[in-house]
Symmetry: C2
Subunit: 415 residues, 2 copies
């Protein structure tokens, strides 16, 4: 089964907005074994909308549109599709009552324009929308299916899951998707590809997608099959071989972010952490605290940009900063050891560096030092990252979090 | 002049990747008075590509494609367009020499497959690509123009600016775009719209787009005209009326981020700042330090999640935390005053709150306190933000930065 997605809205043809719903829809459709063969973005123009649906229906078994179901004159998706398929638009009294009830619930008076949202093309099924006024619509035209969904994600997502997926599941021919995602850090994309291409080329039926971001590479594996169990087994085998090739650079096969993995490891080991940051300026603490429950393992953090505060707040001797420079393994080590002691945390983590722009001949922009102290020993690492300020800071925060992750890997092995 | 954009690549039809180049192209095309009427995303399939170009050329004067110019079997844009327009593909010796020279420069041997990239359709102009191997292509078919661009942004962006824009400028009929962007914080979208809709409806020739994000609303104004000066004057007048209606909620008319505005104000006033963060966990410091030169005004920050560290690191009396609770105006005020004193900064900024999930009957999730101390007085504010943990934290960081911005507004007025 092949699908096309049409995102509707003139605002999506400006430089300010892009369609994001289609990624969610693609993911869900792919799960059902439905391939997305085209995405189109069309403005609020009746003739252009009609043409877009007409051409999509000539290519695909399923056409899903997003948006253009609102109450205003601009919202023309319903009308364009009814016209194309030669269906009359009738007012559906049940739908109207639901819209009226919704307005009563939120304590507002329904405007007359909202009555338009109760128009349903002949033979179509209205899909309930508990989170908004516009119902979705399911239409069948011969062998083809047309689904019209509202644009706001809080309305679209539950409607698709509850009312569209079950209907599609029966039609999609029993092909199912099995998938695995690996996330990798600590190696460049070219090295990763050299290590894994001999493996994934052995599995031509598995779609392998490698995506690189600063400090992180994602490897997506997807296999469609009528026999789910066989596909799962193939993927398990493939993941095993990939993890063997990539080793501990793989930080998850379960879709977690690096901060989630670190949070899980800290919790598992009943460990706490405190962070002293210079060049990342709070980014590592902000990432760790973006996870619910972070107060149980992150005791606190200090952003110490100036040399004075490195001394005053984290007890780094002024003489050491003078002798080694603020961006050095020695000062970073002192920061990690002292933030640990001053916070009473199990681990102290410190980051110094030059995020850029600028830098010196001795210490070019992108230079970063990381240190992790556990009270017995302190491990320090350094790196030089490419890219602008934001990319350097992002990569530095990845390496800092990854240092904590690897610490627990080794800690585990010793057990 | 009307344009369509075709983004080419099967990876853009997966759940992992979306086209981002088209926003840049739309912005540049709009500047030349060229309207984008459709965007399409098509996989690496020769027949589907051919059809996409054929249908786009039936609607638009200009069709620009992105991607599919690489050296591999998957890269079919060149072939699909040549076939559609009935042009033979000839090897261009100049292009080939440039590709060979590029490989020599980067010290690698050119693979035989790269010769494909020197194929140029009859009558087409190759557009130089100093940042990659694939040249762009400019084709004319009667009144229609087809431009093929490579996908990587570091190749596409300079090629478009240097070789496509000058060619289009001559054709686009002398219509120019004038634009203004306002960014607003501290008010909900519905209130904003109520204040400004009586104004923007007076200017039907100006395209007004209102976009809301957590803690921030953007108002984009765009006017196309053959007389640039007149359009600029209209927009200046409109901006003046909008700013008058929205008051100091407008934080920039120059496209700056809120942290950039705060950085500029701190620098202008030779002021420094230190931040004590609880629920934002380093986010405010991270935003302020993402700006180059931040070491001149941000002295440091403390992330003090636990009550113990609020006392140990920022001298908040344990009795005060006990009596008022850690999320209170009193504790936030103490944090702001003490972080200022301990850092020696001009200003001390503090944020406490419950980012969620969770919360208590007395203090529900989303509750946030902000305090700003200058040594003479301390101003504190509180709010309750909707949304999940990430949205609450984002809105809290906006309100904290905005508190600093408004402080300088009032400070200025006293002068």
């Amino acid at each position: 089964m092949k699908a096309e997605i049409i995102a509707v809205g003139s605002e999506l043809l400006t430089p300010y907005r892009r369609d994001t719903n289609s990624l969610f829809l693609t993911e869900r459709l792919n799960r059902l074994g439905i391939e997305v063969i085209r995405k189109s973005i069309v403005g609020d123009d009746r003739a252009r909308l009609r043409e877009a649906f007409e051409q999509a229906l000539a290519r695909a078994d399923l056409v899903i549109s997003i948006g253009g179901l609102g109450p205003t004159e601009d919202d023309l998706t319903r009308e364009a599709v009814a016209e194309l398929l030669g269906r009359r638009l009738n007012r559906d009294e049940n739908v109207l009552r639901e819209i009226q009830a919704r307005f009563r619930r939120i304590g507002r008076k329904m405007a007359a324009v909202n009555e338009r949202q109760a128009l349903v093309p002949e033979g179509a099924t209205a899909l309930p929308n508990p989170n908004g006024t516009a119902p979705g619509l399911w239409l069948e035209a011969g062998e083809r299916i047309v689904v019209l969904l509202p644009g706001p994600p809080p309305e679209l997502v539950p409607m698709f899951r509850e009312h569209v997926e079950p209907r599609l599941a029966g039609r999609a021919g029993g092909v199912e998707l099995a998938s695995r995602d690996l996330r990798v850090t600590g190696m460049p994309e070219a090295d990763l590809d050299q290590l894994i291409s001999p493996i994934y080329t052995l599995y031509p039926d598995v779609q392998t997608t490698v995506l690189a971001a600063p400090g992180e590479i994602e490897v997506h594996l997807r296999a469609w099959s009528a026999e789910r169990a066989a596909a799962e087994k193939t993927l398990d085998e493939m993941v095993e071989r990939l993890v063997l090739a990539l080793g501990e650079n793989v930080f998850t096969t379960g879709g977690e972010s690096l901060e989630e993995v670190v949070a899980r490891l800290l919790t598992l080991h009943h460990a706490t952490i405190a962070v002293a940051e210079s060049c990342t300026g709070g980014l590592v603490a902000a990432r760790l605290t973006n996870i619910a429950g972070s107060s149980s393992y992150l005791l606190g953090g200090v952003v110490c940009y100036s040399n004075e505060l490195k001394s005053a707040w984290v007890d780094v001797p002024a003489g050491l900063i003078e002798a080694r420079g603020p961006v050095s393994a020695e000062v970073t080590t002192a920061l990690a050891e002292n933030i640990r002691r001053r916070s009473g945390a199990t681990l102290g983590l410190a980051i110094t560096g030059i995020a850029g722009p600028g830098g010196t001949p001795e210490i070019p922009a992108g230079t970063v030092h990381i240190a992790l102290a556990n009270g017995e020993a302190t491990k320090s690492r350094s790196a030089r990252f490419p890219g602008d300020r934001e990319r350097v800071r992002r990569q530095a925060s990845q390496m800092a979090l990854d240092t904590v992750r690897r610490y627990f890997l080794y800690a585990n092995r010793k057990v």
